[in-house]
């Protein structure tokens, strides 16, 4: 995983709530709404600007019955999608 030591945080333009086990994410600047799955909502909650991605991975491994290698791959892809959607930023990009 390329960015495992990096810290990610939700964009300041993002507002979100967990609703019915899913996350409703609003990007205020572009007036876009995203709906994330239960796992996606959990990832978003964990990306608090304090935890390293490696800590997020370790917490998810404890919470979900999933293969470590598969989780890393999925998490990496998911982080990239959240970044592309403007929902999160890497700490180095601040």
């Amino acid at each position: 995983m390329a960015n495992i030591e990096k810290i990610y945080a939700r964009s300041s333009e993002v507002r979100y709530r967990i609703l019915e086990d899913q996350a409703v994410v609003v990007r205020q600047d572009v007036a876009q709404v995203f709906v994330l799955s239960e796992v996606g909502a959990r990832v978003l909650e964990l990306l608090d600007g304090k935890r390293k991605l490696t800590d997020v991975r370790n917490l998810l491994l404890l919470e979900y019955a999933v293969d470590e290698a598969q989780l890393e791959q999925d998490l990496n892809e998911y982080i990239n999608r959240l970044k592309e959607a403007g929902i999160i930023h890497c700490s180095e990009d601040w």
């Binding site: 507002r15 979100y16 609703l19 609003v26 709404v33």
Partner: protein, 356 residues
Amino acid sequence: MTYGDLVQRARHNNTLLSVLIELTYDCNLNCFVCYNDRNQQGLPLSVDQYRQLIDELAGMGVLHLTLSGGEPLVYEDFWAIGSYARARGFVIRIKSNGHAIGPQLARRLKLEVDPFVTEVSLHGACAATHDRQTRVEGSFNQLMRNIQGMLQAGIRVQLNVPLTRWNETEVDALCALADRLGLLLQIDPDVAPTDAGHPAPLSIAPSEAGLRRLNEVHQARLAASTIEKQTTEAAELSNKRVQKKECPESTTKHCGAGSTGLAVDPYGNVYPCVQWRIRLGSFHDQSIMDIWQDSEELKRVRAVNEKVGKARKSARTDAGLAFCPGMAQTESGSPFSLYTAFRLRKLATDRCRETI
């Protein structure tokens, strides 16, 4: 699952999503069509109580918070409450007349409250009409200046127009004005009695011809935007079709009043919706969660909402027309009855059909 599916499911499950708070009934304008009951008495909520309310709503997962009035910007603790709501992560909507939001206040609003959108009331496409309806000379020109300041501050602005007999001939001009400014535009065809039941605003309800013209303009703009969307969202459509297969729980409720939404007045009274003024409880006496879960009145409202939903779905001639049980209740005492604004829209729509 799409956001729309999620809202449907929330409505079915009575999951609170959206709350409107009327901070004050004080106002710096004197609009003829205002529905607020300025003579209402009560003990206003304190800033500490508002913070407690906001904390509770955040804890319940409420995403959308609307700060309204009266004019919310004239409420002395607006900034304390607005900035607190921002810190608790709400998508904030401000409903204002825009009269007080000069450049300095606009910058402060963006910085401290950062609303998703600020809705400002526009009463006409020119000063004569707007000022006649607000009953404050110079209010149109001040609003136009203030809108520029808000846009420069990076605030998203929406124009809300209450359609009346005085401005109904300006529908095209209102659209042109909104387009020129690059603003969202919402024209509300329903004029309602005041919350105290006073019918004065109805005396300038739009005419049948005005409603027909609004309908024509609305259809034309909808068609234009649909063509635009079809060219840009073709790929998304196929995704949506696939997602539609995940049928969420369907709801028979007519609207979100009391099932995804609530309104709170300046004295802590809680209602299913800003239009549906049935008192469910008081924040002075109970938590919002207690009202949400235990109010017998709210249970009755939800049951009525289901009945209205079924009745509207089975309506033969006017099923497509927007119906507000709250406005029906305010005007006649029954949430099922046809109210003046609805009758007028129905008449205008029927005449359109006859013409076609």
